[in-house]
């Protein structure tokens, strides 16, 4: 029998990118918040610049709950389940994956909110890919702008604005929507190679700019500026210059006295009362079961776990899983098409040993609908990203571009000359939801507590593969302009697999028949259940999701404060 704890106003399941942000406006409004986190606190001393530990062994210093419940995946309902990963892409800890993520902190572009209406207007309804369940968001960028702004300043984002109040600044992204003010910090510094790439892009008429990062480019909020030591990629920051929620919004919420952080709390199910309202959550710590009653539950785990927890929480009112009476939980799933990179070999050292993946130069000319698709047969596009990021084991694993075998003296001669001469681009592409891409519970694989894990059934479709081929052409053109002597391309995409950029499963929209949560992130079916994370997003855009997730989380929390009396 679970031990029943004292009721609280709000319980947040997961104190990562989303839950860690939502806690702040709630606590500041005077609500009592309990944050349940499966991991523990990790601090700067835990973040050794150790490639083996961070990049190959999945952070053994952390609680490895996620590693025990890695989703299974297959391309489609008739294909076999693929090999299961051994390291979950996300991290359990206070601050979650914001501890070791790349920290690219993009706003979505205006088009991403209106994919359907804008595509119909410009190219006709037939251009919407067959089988896609894509919808316009229930609101536009203008609705989210104040929350983007709030998070950029509360968390701390460095970057160069491209559109302040409608005035284009050519140093920034001319394609971004209007923002009320610039970033709180200037962009991270450049390197000679990044400057070379910037010059190359300009020389072919493109509009390069430094990307935004939740990393301090100078001291901010009494925390250090970035040390550029080169271990930011899946590494935590040893000087707290990476603005994880563990060093920003969570401690600020704690300082109000209203947020209680409970670590090592492994949430298993959400409880439902007699009136189709949620009553709290069950969790396990070291084998002991607890029930935490709450007036409101905010589900803020990663996309796979958000869906899994809903499907596992069955009750009389919700026999198919919580908030799933319309059979929408798990639907409209997609993972960002961020693979299919282009790699290049240069005839000079790039001097990339020190830097970070959020330090780079972007091109948005081929993203979204920033270019005319009239003569093309797809919608959307990709953000081209060139960053400064290299570590020794990964460098030794570089492609030999067909110029050397993979081992032996010839390989050694090649690697000695070229270890610092290759670059692999990061191209994030518009990805749409489709009828037959979805999440559900795996019929066989279970976690150590006996609960089924999430199963991913999803593959990139024709539209995504066409964008991949198109943006690979652009990326190769850019590399060649900068002097690349060899270029390779990865395949354009098949099965989606398990991803760090996983969207949908609890999509947000006005129509309860096609969406799990309403425009403010609350369940259409259980009014005191809110859902945070990219699981509510219906489109990906061509940029990293985290800042959008955080802006949405702030908005949902603020809405909860405003509607508190009517909701509880």
């Amino acid at each position: 029998m679970a031990q029943r704890l004292k009721e609280t106003d709000v319980v947040i399941v997961g104190l990562g990118a989303a839950g860690g942000v939502a806690a702040l406006p709630l606590a500041q409004a005077g609500l009592d918040v309990i944050g349940l986190e499966a991991g523990t606190w990790l601090t700067r001393r835990d973040f050794a610049p150790d490639e083996l530990r961070n990049n190959f062994r999945g952070w053994p210093q952390g609680v490895q709950k996620a590693n025990q419940e890695i989703p299974t995946s297959r391309a489609n309902a008739s294909s076999p389940v693929g090999p299961r990963g051994t390291i979950h892409p996300m991290q359990n800890a206070v601050g979650g994956t914001t501890l070791h993520y790349w920290a690219q902190s993009w706003r979505l572009n205006p088009w991403d909110f209106k994919v359907v209406s804008e595509t119909k207007r410009r190219y006709g309804a037939s251009r919407i890919p067959k089988g896609s369940t894509v919808e316009d968001w229930p609101f536009g960028l203008d609705e989210l702008e104040p929350y983007y702004d709030k998070v950029e300043y509360e968390v701390g984002v460095s970057g160069q604005a491209g559109n302040v109040g409608g005035t284009i600044d050519p140093r920034g992204n001319r394609f971004e929507g209007p923002r009320r003010r610039g970033y709180p910090m200037p962009p991270l510094r450049a390197t000679a190679f990044l400057e070379k790439m910037t010059t190359a892009a300009r020389s072919i008429g493109w509009h390069p700019f430094p990307g935004p990062a939740a990393v301090n480019s100078r001291p901010y909020q009494n925390r250090s500026g970035c040390m550029y030591h080169g271990f930011c990629n899946r590494g935590g920051c040893h000087v707290d210059a990476k603005n994880s929620t563990a060093v920003t919004t969570i401690p600020r919420a704690q300082a109000t006295g209203r947020l209680k952080v409970v670590t090592r709390a492994h949430v298993t199910t959400i409880e439902v009362g007699g009136d189709a309202r949620v009553s709290g959550v069950n969790y396990v710590t070291d084998g002991v079961e607890y029930f935490q009653p709450a007036k409101v539950v905010l589900l803020a785990s990663f996309t796979y776990e958000n869906t899994r927890l809903l499907l596992l929480s069955k009750s009389k009112a919700f026999p198919n899983g919580l908030s799933n009476n319309h059979k929408q939980v798990g639907r409209h799933y997609f993972s960002h098409h961020q693979g299919a990179p282009v790699s290049a070999l240069f005839p000079f050292d790039l001097k990339s040993w020190y830097g970070l993946p959020a330090q780079g130069v972007a091109v948005d000319d081929w993203a979204d609908d920033n270019f005319d698709h009239a003569g093309l047969d797809f919608v959307g596009g990709g953000n081209l990203w060139v960053m400064s990021d290299r570590r020794p084991i990964a460098a030794a694993g570089m492609s030999t571009f067909g110029r050397a075998p993979a081992w032996g003296s010839q390989w050694k001669a090649f690697i000695k000359e070229n270890a610092d001469r290759s670059h692999s681009s990061y191209i994030q592409k518009t990805t749409l939801p489709y009828e037959d891409n979805y999440l559900d519970l795996d019929p066989e694989a279970k976690d150590p507590l006996g609960y089924p894990v999430c199963r991913v059934t999803a593959e990139f479709k024709e539209n995504e593969r066409k964008i991949a081929a198109f943006t690979q052409d652009k990326m190769e053109q850019w590399y060649r302009e900068a002097g690349a002597i060899a270029v390779t391309r990865a395949p354009v995409g098949g099965a989606m697999g398990v991803s760090t950029h996983a969207y949908g499963g609890t999509r947000m929209g006005d129509d309860a028949g096609a969406n799990v949560v309403d425009r403010f992130g609350f369940s259409h079916e259980a009014p005191n259940l809110g859902i945070l994370g990219a699981s509510v997003m219906g489109t990906s855009g061509a940029h990293n999701p985290t800042l959008t997730v955080q802006a949405l989380a702030w908005r949902t929390a603020e809405h909860l404060v405003k509607t508190w009396r009517s909701r509880v």
Binding site: R45, D46, A48, P49, D50, E51, L52, R53, N55, R57, G58, W59, P60, Q61, Q64, N67, G85, T86, I87, P89, W102, A103, Q104, R189, T191, A192, M227, Y228, H229, G230, N233, R234, H238, V239, Q338, D349, K351, W353, Y354, A358, P392, I393, A394, A395, A396, G397, A406, W407, G408, S409, W411, K412, I415, K416, A419, D420, Y426, S499, T500, N544
Partner: protein
């Protein structure tokens, strides 16, 4: 001048005998201490006790890594990096799930070398060893559970880890792997001026392990709960 880390030295000293307790080693004076250099020369002849591999397995693996990343005109290779030492230690921790693959794979390697070239792998001439390894890499070599190509990929992956990983884990001895790549070393701060020196080839290798910095906890790096991942997630 050869650099050997304090930790490595203590490990070797312990392996050789009781001299370790008489050494008072200041990590700031790693290079040039006559007693240490003498010890290093002595230690280089000995192989400290294996923890997980058998002697025969270690002999075969020594021979394999020496062909994967050979010692040649471009300098030291996996042998000098002590990649096998890294693998042997890790087989009791993060790479424990690969222990059986090494036993059966190395045995299969010797069988295949014997049947195709007439001698166990370690006894073959270098050119024949390369021929055997090419067969193992392509999957053509017979007698490997799960196929020879998978075994080859496993060993190559771990050999790279043991050659280019942080020396804390027992490989990349004397930083030979990082020197081969031109990696200037683990730093906790790289200023704009440092980057400028890197751009102009003036930033010299510092030969430091992550755990030469007192700021970082080591407990987790030692953790035997650590599990090797199939691939490193690289996307942000």
């Amino acid at each position: 001048m050869t650099f050997i880390s304090r930790r490595d030295l203590l490990m070797r000293a312990a392996a050789i005998g009781a001299v370790g307790r008489h050494l008072h080693i200041d990590p700031r004076h790693d290079v040039g201490d006559p007693e240490r250099v003498a010890l290093h020369e002595h230690a280089a002849l000995a192989r400290e006790p294996l923890e997980h591999l058998t002697a025969a397995e270690a002999d075969a693996l020594d021979a394999v890594v020496a062909r994967l990343i050979p010692t040649d005109a471009n300098g030291p290779g996996a042998a000098e990096a002590r990649a096998v030492h890294y693998i042997d230690r890790a087989l009791g921790g993060a790479l424990a799930s690969s222990r059986d693959a090494y036993s059966s794979g190395l045995a299969a390697l010797d069988r295949y070398a014997q049947s195709s070239r007439g001698k166990p792998f370690a006894a073959l001439a270098a050119a024949d060893q390369d021929g055997v390894l090419a067969d193992v890499e392509s999957g053509k070599a017979t007698g490997f559970a799960g196929g020879s190509a998978a075994f080859f990929a496993l060993v190559l992956n771990h050999t790279r880890q043991g050659t280019f990983g942080d020396p804390y884990y027992g490989g990349n001895a004397n930083f030979v792997g990082w020197d081969l790549l031109g990696y200037p070393g683990v730093r906790t701060m790289v200023t704009a001026a440092d980057q400028q020196r890197l751009e102009t080839n003036e930033l010299k290798p510092n030969h430091k392990s992550a755990y030469d910095y007192d700021a970082f906890t080591k407990s987790s790096a030692r953790s035997h709960d650590a599990q090797e991942g199939g691939s490193s997630w690289r996307r942000g």
